[in-house]
């Protein structure tokens, strides 16, 4: 588990920073980006094993970022985060290539399970 590398992309900076710290405490190397453009720049030079990506962000939406990630590094599993009280957006993301989705507020154990499952795929 120590070798796992995750990119966490969310414009809610407090959420991303805190969650990243908790993931690191559990042995998962985690980088953060606070918008889609920043995430794509980081991903080009440092390929993560899994991307955890918020759907609703200013600028590029999560679904747009998802498409770009697939162009840069085809095959990287992406787990979408949605704060919307329905599964519609998450399912839409899976139709265009996301591995899975989670609804905020997430449970960290569930996220880690999904990260592990995504890497095994």
């Amino acid at each position: 588990m120590g070798s796992l590398k995750v990119m966490l992309v969310d414009d809610e900076q407090e959420f991303a920073i805190t969650l990243a710290e908790r993931l690191r405490m559990r042995g998962i190397e985690t980088n953060t980006a606070f918008d889609g453009e920043e995430a794509l720049k980081l991903i080009v030079g440092d390929k993560p094993d899994v991307v955890v990506l918020d759907i609703m962000m200013p600028g590029m939406s999560g679904l747009q970022v998802l498409g770009k990630i697939a162009e840069i590094h085809p095959g990287i599993p992406v787990i979408l985060l949605t704060g919307i009280g329905s599964t519609t957006e998450g399912i839409a993301g899976m139709k265009i290539g996301a591995h899975d989705y989670l609804m905020k507020p997430i449970q960290i154990e569930e996220l880690i399970d999904k990260i592990r499952a995504a890497v095994k795929k």
Binding site: R22, G85, K104
Partner: protein, 218 residues
Amino acid sequence: MKETLFMGRITATVTHEIKNVLAIIRESGGLMEDFLNMVEGDNFKYKDRFHKIISNIEDQVVRGDAISTLLNRFAHSPDADVASENVPDLLDQMIVLSARLAKAKEIVFKSDKDSGVILISSDPIRIRMLIFQAMDVLMNYCKPGQTILVNSKVNDSKLITIEFSVDSKTQVLQEFEQIILSDQWKDLISTVESLDSKAFINPENGTLRLELRSNDNR
């Protein structure tokens, strides 16, 4: 209709923001707990109290998450003129979203958890308004401390019944007789008739019953 859509869209957007707030609170509480778990033995005398506080924070996140999820669904109700929805889910939605009003009146609504799936095709706003109007009239005419059981069922003719029944029926007779004369009841009847359905009040056994026809069964 545009106005309703506007209200719904803004409310749905805010529920999304509330989810983000709850996510930050949960992760912050979780991080505190992570650090607390790193304290060995009795090196921190408030350890148990902190665990309890963090547990309270998590309980409130769960509570807020449930409310904002139901409020989001409520806010999306104007999105379609007609929708097929599960009646027990609608009842739970309206009971949770009206909990503060019921608490102020010291009334408790309890839904039957064993109703199964009962689908109704109807106007999503009117059906919610009807359920709320029934709850509202009961909140005004029942006594503080009373519990109202809410159950739903469907018969062979696909007639859907929602029944609100007061637990301590000996006290309700007089109050229930007054309901029929109230403006609230007239408003409820107006709504129920717009759904091509019926409403009944029975003072003798303390029940308010809605008989609903699904749009696909008229």
